[in-house]
Symmetry: C2
Subunit: 482 residues, 2 copies
């Protein structure tokens, strides 16, 4: 009944002449944006990949590829070529659109490349496809707990529901000037593309995060709204001297834990600005909870909370022991399942609910607090790194017999990837890091590897006691995992 | 996937101790409200009727009857007993809940009456039913174009979608203090019950509109938000001297055309308050378009517009001739169909779209302007009166051979019901009005009846030329039909 063509259709009906996108020197009205986007229906492929930084083209692919009845597979360009090649095969991408910077890598992936994007969007518009709301719109990859990335299948309805939930939670209007700097290949980035487009806001695009450039863009383009990950906020604060950010009215952070000190400094830096936290995951398209601006300013006891479910998303905390249970999520935003992974889907989706694997507790007011991630996952910057994936790469090295990978505190990244391995005498950390480099993305490579000759600590049942290895690093610190 | 139990579940999780409802002297927290509402699952009937003014019980039935997997049929208590009896039979109501004032009428309707509502809500809570989102939640009656009222079937998803659309369009928060004074048996009234409950707002209930009581309630309860019909606004203005309405931040009007002069006076009366117009219909649960606060204050050329579609609802203007076409509506809010009326449903729902019958034009900015109602309907106060229904009652009188019913301008009600009839000599208007009184609701009875001896004007094809009769009344006036 509803499809991802709607937001732009509304925007062009009501705001055809308004500036839709500012990408560097280029300014595109909603009318022009719609003409370009409608021409993407000419692409002759059913599953279309995108590999690149944020750009006008990147945003257009989100607005146009699903709306033409095709599936968009937006790839994390930080992945290693070997990882990308796996995703291209796993998703069955038939045509890949790569930005100029990723062209060379794209050519190695064994998939047809689109030659000239601008020629396509200059083509004749294609009439809107008739699309079932439950049809697959996008496959968005997340790290896999069993070592292999999983493609999250998001329907038109999933992404539209999330955009509506975000409109309620954020209160976007046509007067907003939104800065897209979080990568659009993450669903948190794309979510705001649909929400902003729906209300006809002006969307300013930066290709990547660079603190000085972000601060300059906020001032130059009079940015009112944006979302950052905590690591970015810390960098913005470091570079903020002399920057004029007085136009900011609403700033969100999401995707990884925030340090209380950073939270305090952000609130102090932007006394007139709404500061809001969102929590979610790709499987929920992604928004689940929100810690509101009022919570941040008026309820200091809630600052350690991940917030409360947004209207439209239902949560339950199940199997509670000593006040802690697993967070389950339900709503029109919850994914269709994992692409070609029926068993993983059956594990994750039970009776209409998505089990997050995150362990939480609830206070008397219904606010949620993250206690631990049930999945063995490190969040560094805002990237999720699954320990098991890195462990598999390390143990694939002929000298390594055992590997334990976990997060350790890091001033800048929140957590850093750390490894302890058992290897034959003479094996060096540098050698193992070089081994990783060709196989996994840079952000997944351990920052440090502790090479040992002795077996790692095990439980009586022979299970690796990773907590024993991890604890010394976190002594005296709270591991904030919201 | 989602059902009408959600809004209250969220409210009780987050705002259990907050005041949910103020109904006269009675104050009920969300925790208590949920306990009472959850006990409504004990009612042993599948289709449950409600007959009464706004009250705590009335609101609870909306929150609790559909959430228990049953269907609520909320009856317009202004209807005549004969009309009510028809609705009871048509909907197959098995159990009727009536407020004390309507008890005597309710006893004549040939349906089981609930004896003691308070005993039911004091009963044990019932676990939430597992409900399909497309299950029928409510049957809401509208006048019929063919003379017989039609039951609009609204699903859980329809009503939740509309509540979300209203949350986006209105921006409700937990801090709102909403006044419910429009009747809850109209879906426009119930819509705000779900939206307000979802965010945990405080909801003040008045049983009926009485200008002095409304102004007193606004001051006493520090009301921030409400919705009125234009007729009510005119009465509020008349009585406003000395009233303190400074807490009002957001005032909506809906359900009938507004006179430009009234619009101007409301904006002048409440210079600091958002004034917003909504347009919709029961079949759309009901919201379709919105004329925003900024439109009202900053775009005087838009004051005659019915606004633009809210995010989540799609419109198309079809079969356009000379710029005017029929408004079609699509969205998760659009009804399932008409109860037991497959032909009427097939006429109204085409390929996922609802055809409103309203004729509109669109300006360059995509704003909609009502040109005419394709359905022969009078809006008096905020009640819809279908001419054909009144004509059928008039021609049922033995002395009447022809009848034409239409709206004429009325200072207070926007339009008044007017009839021209051909009747045998000696028939008086009073006699015909008395005849109507026992058969149709007071608001449908013609304010004046012009009794003639000559046949009414017809086209060459013999079709009654109602426009010829109507025109003299509207000479020199614009018939505002937004």
């Amino acid at each position: 009944m509803s499809d991802l063509g709607w937001p732009l259709q509304r925007a062009v009906a009501l705001h055809a002449g308004a500036t839709a996108v500012i990408d560097g020197e280029r300014r595109v009205s909603y009318g022009e944006l719609a003409r370009r986007v409608n021409a993407l229906g000419n692409l002759a492929a059913d599953r279309i990949g995108f590999l690149g930084a944020n750009s006008l083209a990147h945003m257009e692919c989100w607005l146009g590829v699903p709306a033409a009845g095709k599936v968009l597979v937006d790839l994390n360009y930080r992945l290693a070529p070997e990882e990308l090649a796996f995703l291209v095969r796993d998703a069955g991408i038939e045509l890949l659109i790569a930005d100029p910077e990723r062209r060379a890598v794209a050519e190695t992936l064994g998939v047809e490349l689109l030659e000239d994007y601008e020629t396509v969007v200059a083509g004749p518009p294609v009439a809107p496809a008739r699309i079932d709301e439950d049809a697959l719109a996008a496959i968005s990859y997340t790290g896999g707990t069993t070592g292999r990335p999983k493609g999250v299948m998001l329907s038109h309805r999933n992404l539209l529901a999330n955009a509506l939930h975000n409109l309620v939670a954020t209160g976007h209007t046509a007067d907003d000037r939104w800065l897209h700097v979080c990568p659009m290949f993450h669903v948190a980035g794309t979510s705001n593309v649909f929400a902003c487009t729906w209300v006809g806001a002006t969307q300013v695009i930066l290709p990547r995060f660079e603190a000085a450039a972000v601060l300059a863009a906020i001032e130059r383009e009079r940015i009112t709204h944006s979302v950052f990950v905590p690591t970015m906020l810390a960098m913005l604060l470091e570079a903020s001297e002399g920057a004029n950010v007085s136009t900011l009215r609403h700033l969100q952070y999401a995707a990884s834990p925030i340090a209380p000190e950073l939270q305090r400094r952000v609130l102090e830096w932007l006394p007139e600005c709404d500061v809001v936290q969102f929590y979610g995951m790709t499987e929920a398209a992604p928004t689940v909870t929100q810690l509101t601006a009022a919570d941040h300013r008026e309820r200091p006891e809630r600052l350690a909370s991940m917030g409360a479910p947004v209207a439209g998303v239902q949560v339950e905390v199940r199997d509670v022991i000593d006040g802690v249970g697993e967070l389950w999520v339900r709503g029109a935003n919850v994914m269709l399942g994992y692409w070609n992974r029926p068993e993983a889907t059956a594990d994750a989706l039970v009776d209409g609910w998505y089990r997050t694997g995150d362990l939480v507790r609830t206070d008397a007011d219904g606010y949620l607090y993250m206690v631990d991630r049930a999945k063995d996952m490190i969040i560094t910057g805002a990237e999720n790194v699954y320990s098991v994936e890195v462990e598999a790469v390390l143990t694939a090295h002929e000298a390594v017999s055992e590997a334990a990978v976990f997060g350790v505190p890091d001033e800048r990244w929140g957590e850093a990837v750390h490894a302890v391995v058992v290897a034959s005498p003479g094996t060096t950390a540098d050698e193992l890091i070089a081994h990783c480099r060709s196989r996994i993305a840079g952000f997944k490579i351990p920052r440090a590897i502790d090479v040992r000759g002795e077996p790692l600590p095990k439980s009586g049942a022979g299970k690796l006691l990773k907590s024993t290895l991890r604890e010394p690093f976190w002594a005296g610190r709270e591991r904030r995992v919201s």
